[in-house]
Symmetry: C2
């Protein structure tokens, strides 16, 4: 396949993009835990812009599924359910198989070097915080997606990878990243060798093992609030926030 022109950045404005990236990173590094509040004016003040821009950034992140926007309420970092996490991983597996299928045997020397450098960085970060390790592992996959030069694929893989990253912070036991790094190296090797079937199965089992290590139990382990725990007992899902614990049915 002929090399395509590099994708132009899809970022619409500018300042909002900065805030987006900052928040995204804070979220996936767990500096902002799921459920954390994100008031528009605090954000605006922190980044030196008006609420308008902060609001715009929150809208973007909501579209990506990283924050939840509820009408007239403070935006919060998303708290995906266990099932949503499972779904995200399922989608991610398919998308990333597509990535490596397109890439097998087509990497340039420079790209191979870039990938190896990234895994080396993952290696060096192994002693640091788990959060950084997780972020780097995620970014390895995004780096791969970028090499397809397919803007749509990049966007979807990035989004779903960030979502998965977010769920890791909710449902994962303390992360041991060593094996993931080895698997990354194996994927690079298979890509270079050009063995399409091999690399697809490697990627599949890699993500599958990450998912199964991460999504250990369907029960919400921590950081969930009462309403979420009680949700399965609610009568009808559509009313959203029916119970209040001792008394209830505060219908309106």
């Amino acid at each position: 396949m002929a090399p395509r022109p590099a994708s132009k950045t899809a970022v619409p404005s500018d300042k909002a993009g900065v805030i987006c990236r900052a928040l995204r990173r804070a979220i996936i590094e767990q500096a902002l835990a799921p459920g954390a509040k994100l008031p528009e004016d605090s954000l605006g003040e922190r980044f030196g812009v008006s609420r308008t821009i902060a609001r715009h950034a929150l809208g973007q992140l909501a579209a990506e599924g990283l924050v939840e926007l509820r009408r007239n309420r403070i935006a919060v970092v998303a708290t995906p359910s266990w099932q949503e996490a499972r779904d995200a991983f399922d989608i991610r597996i398919e998308l990333e198989r597509l990535v490596v299928r397109q890439l097998a045997g087509k990497l340039t020397k420079a790209q191979i070097a870039e990938l190896n450098a990234h895994v080396d960085a993952e290696d060096r970060a192994r002693d640091g915080s788990d959060a950084v390790s997780i972020r780097l592992a995620t970014e390895f996959h995004i780096l791969l997606a970028n090499m397809t030069n397919s803007p749509i694929l990049v966007r979807y893989v990035s989004e779903v990878a960030y979502r998965c990253c977010l769920t890791l912070s909710l449902y994962s036991r303390p992360h041991s990243s060593e094996c993931a790094i080895n698997e990354h190296r194996a994927i690079i090797a298979a890509l270079v060798k050009g063995d399409e079937a091999k690399v697809m199965s490697l990627m599949h089992s890699h993500l599958d093992s990450v998912a199964s290590r991460a999504l250990v139990a369907p029960a919400p382990p921590r950081g969930r609030d009462l309403l979420d725990i009680l949700a399965p007992y609610a009568e009808e899902g559509e009313s959203e926030r029916v119970v209040k614990l001792p008394k209830m049915v505060r219908a309106r």
Copy 2:
């Protein structure tokens, strides 16, 4: 798999959502052709809201890839390249295989009836405009995705299906929808029967045939403007709008 609670609407505000849906529909029905201008204040005036809201809606649609936002310039309906269209279809195939895999043999009677009713509607619309046929065909796939009750999957399938719909208006020869309708019926039948392998291959070949009927030629066939046609001849892609026809290099 146990039935999950219905997905809550991800629409952040409200009025912006209305505009989004209206524009989305206008775009996929080709009332708004690729390249059509979408000035914020015209939009706001048309829908009785301020520019702020119109802008927000445009931001959403840009995130979905249906409109293009360029700094300080009027937003336009997106004009995907042929390669992007190809990529979108590739992704779509994988995602929809996921959909039918989850659905095979698990449809309720009500869902089966709903699907059949939709295909009947497609049938009735066969004499109408091509645009409506295409929209209905697209909505069949979104209807399927909805039945997975996986909000993430629904969102991605919807987005990518709309994008494909948009490319159809750019690259497709006049659409004959009859075969698509039959294929939809076959997919329903296989889903009901619960034959997972069969339904996945049906969906694959269905989308593949749509894609190959649609993406007939890599050359932009119609409705493109001079600049796009000349784009392959430009020296460096990053400068964006270098030529002006007789004289050029209006660098700034």
